[in-house]
């Protein structure tokens, strides 16, 4: 039987939304407060959903220890308590939560081989959330 397992992690990071392709006025108009040159921060909630057959020997899609170990090493150590703008993936891309979602999806998709990655969902605040499931669109609201 195939099941989906979702695990939530929290990380805190700062960012500033600013695009070099726009003038100072355009940046302010587009990003508002988020364009503050000194940056600001969020407590991000990262939700990783993986799927696979439930192993009859263990009752698991994948061992949580493996998923947690991967997430700590490759996501939390990379992003937690960092300024996102200083990371190489945001040297050119604006560190919006859309782009953070895609970056984290790519890291898990490339590196985690114990289960199939379904999607990454990020809550930037309690009111804003973003989901990325690769280029294929989400099916049936999942």
């Amino acid at each position: 039987m195939k099941a989906h397992l979702t695990r939530r992690y929290t990380l805190s990071a700062s960012h500033r939304l600013h695009s070099d392709e726009m003038s100072a006025e355009e940046n302010r108009a587009t990003y508002g407060k988020c364009n503050n040159p000194y940056g600001h921060g969020h407590n991000y909630v990262i939700e990783i959903t993986v799927s696979g057959q439930v192993d009859p020997q263990t009752g698991m899609v994948c061992n949580l220890v493996d998923l947690d170990g991967f997430a700590h090493k490759h996501i939390l150590e990379r992003y937690d308590h960092q300024n996102l703008n200083l990371l190489p993936e945001f040297a050119e891309a604006v560190p919006t939560t859309e782009n953070l979602c895609i970056s984290i999806y790519e890291i898990v998709n490339r590196g985690f081989d114990k289960a199939h990655l379904e999607k990454v969902r990020i809550e930037e605040t309690m009111l804003n959330s973003f989901e990325y499931a690769g280029e294929e669109s989400l099916v049936d609201g999942r």
Partner: protein, 136 residues
Amino acid sequence: MVYLTRKAEFAAAHYYHNPAFTPEENLRLFGKCNNPNGHGHNYTLEVTVKGAVDPKSGFVVDLKQLKDVMNREVLDALDHRFLNKEVPEFFTQIPTTENIAIAIWQRLAPKLTTAKLHRVRVYETPDLFVDFYGEP
């Protein structure tokens, strides 16, 4: 098609152990969850059904009926139980969140007549949940 979700909570004890493995393997695989005396969680269950809205009642499903089925088939059997010792599915299967979601699906699916079961979601903690869509 409209999707309707009903939540419920249950508290239960469990432990993870596969008698086919040695004690060392069990401990390595399942860690703290292997403690034979069990430990417990406050589980949150979300049952999502789907269907067309009945033009007369405006309902996908009569929520009272859904609630009754959930109480009878799931909560009465699982709430305040030691899953390994008291729930037949887990005499032979490990009561992981995955297997709990599957067991709940199998208990509910045949009893839901008006709306079709779409998803069973079981939260073991607020930061860990499993979705089962009835997929083989």
